[in-house]
Symmetry: C2
Subunit: 317 residues, 2 copies
């Protein structure tokens, strides 16, 4: 059953790609089965993260750079991760613009993912979907994420190169730094650079970047000025990504990065499985029955936790 799907997936058949992503998004045993089977076929795609505050123009840059890569005849998979509120569906407008621009291209595959209240699971689903796209033969995979939450950090970790998009109004560099963007950027993009305050924002960012510890072998983070809606600066972003890729490859860092990623992934798989077993029906019942004692002040959460661990261990072995 799945073998037929996988053959079609490896053959880059569009419907098989879509269905495979739906399967890995469901996170059940079929998902694990599928991911196990495609594992030998992944590792060829280069993974790019594009992140930044809301309104900085990430989607426009993603669209433009996709068109750039398409001219080079490279296949591009896009995973747009959006922690959109469940009660409005605010991402729809942007998606519609995107679809009309690049969504009809057979060499482009776009998947939007929302948090659905489970931020932790989101990055796992995004990375699993990237593996599907990788196995399907997409040459480049772009993770587009909003903000700087834990899921963005996780996705930055899953990218080979992370592009952080800012605009002059994003606030000064100190704010960007506070928001945690400095740690994850391999290159910065100052978009809407025709707006007032743009040069000042770039200078202030440069100053902070200069303050970082670095030696001759360190990667120097550049700042690219763009006006994405006019397609200005897009080639420069692509060139800088290429330069970063070469840096990683020539210093054997790409392999190391991917090894670390695999390690984290195994850890997550193990922890997810254990968590699932812990809070199975009986675990949840045991927790609920103990909870009353905590609320009445008779036992602390620490005592209850110890009791649950003991019970869990007794069930094993």
């Amino acid at each position: 059953m799945q073998n037929d799907l996988i053959n079609k997936l490896l053959n880059n058949e569009r419907r098989a790609v879509a269905r495979s992503i739906s399967i890995v998004e469901s996170s059940n045993s079929a998902s694990t089965e599928l991911l196990k089977k495609i594992f030998p076929n992944i590792g060829n795609a280069y993974r790019i993260g594009i992140t930044g505050p809301p309104g900085s123009g990430k989607s426009t840059i993603t669209n433009q750079i996709t068109k750039y890569y398409r001219k080079q005849n490279k296949k591009v998979g896009i995973i747009a991760v959006d922690p959109t509120s469940p009660f409005t569906g605010g991402a729809l407008l942007g998606d519609r613009v995107r679809m009309s621009e690049i969504g009809q291209d057979e060499g482009v595959f776009i998947r939007s993912m929302a948090t659905r209240g489970n931020i932790g699971g989101l990055s796992k689903r995004a990375v699993d979907a990237a593996d599907v796209l990788d196995a399907a033969g997409f040459n480049l995979i772009i993770f587009e994420t909003v903000g700087v939450g834990q899921s963005e950090l996780d996705i930055a970790e899953a990218a080979d190169t992370t592009v952080v998009v800012l605009v002059p109004e994003s606030g000064d560099a100190v704010q960007a730094m506070k928001a945690g963007l400095m740690e994850i950027a391999d290159l910065f993009v100052m978009n809407k650079s025709d707006r007032p305050g743009s040069q000042q924002a770039v200078t202030s960012l440069q100053t902070i970047l200069m303050m970082r510890d670095h030696d001759e072998k360190s990667w120097m983070i550049n700042i690219i000025k763009t006006i994405a809606v006019q397609n200005k600066g897009i080639d420069e972003i692509a060139n800088e990504i290429e330069r970063h890729k070469e840096y990683l490859t020539s210093n054997n860092l790409l392999l190391k990065k991917r090894e670390q990623r695999t390690k984290n992934r195994i850890k997550n798989l193990v922890e997810d499985k254990i968590r699932e077993e812990l809070w199975s029906e009986s675990g949840e019942i045991s927790l609920n029955s103990s909870l009353e004692k905590v609320v009445l002040g008779k036992l602390s959460p620490y005592h209850i936790a110890e009791k649950i661990i003991e019970e869990f261990k007794l069930k094993q072995g």
Copy 2:
């Protein structure tokens, strides 16, 4: 040894508070011991979360509202959580201003916490520190957090009332919604409301709030306009927090909220402990030795994860 410290802590002795927080921040067995012992003495403080994007004026509002509560002779504990970059220490300036304004007051205790690269652990440390302040007799505990990452969501969950601070420049309501702020707010503050675009930002936020599902019994989220540096609107924030507290109490929701919080806490304690055992020295060695096989493409991460779980279970029981 610890009993003496705890007596002094329960007596609101400043140095004992500081030392106890340092102990719970260290997250070792002494920490658990301390938290177990103070457990019967917690539950009296009301916990307020103040969050919003960088530059929105959270610190100023926290300072002003602290002064407001001090006039009512209430003791205020502040836990300022800042995911500041490790290579600059950007939070220092704000802290210095804060210390000169309210830091000398014996009825105020301020603790800053940084992520130190471990975002997951941060919210746990913040909540544990709040328990220490609670046991020490602080009437109000304010969690001040930057941004909207997972740690902010966790801390919002730890607060009885969550205040989300925006400024006209924060971008429109759709952006706030995208950033996940809508889900956690019990009240909004539009700070710097003398700036252009303020009324428009409030209106747009109101429109979105109206779209939410609600019935007669639902809590209606209000938007308070403030100019915090001029102390304008601070009383209104305090009144709205009080109104929310009364709403929670009269609908029996405060107890439910705290019960849910205890439940999550027990789960976290259990999972942390199991995780610790999983990745003890021998687990880490087993993982590293398997990793090579994954990199060589011989085994998938899924196979390795299954093997590690099996080994872990065999060690139990």
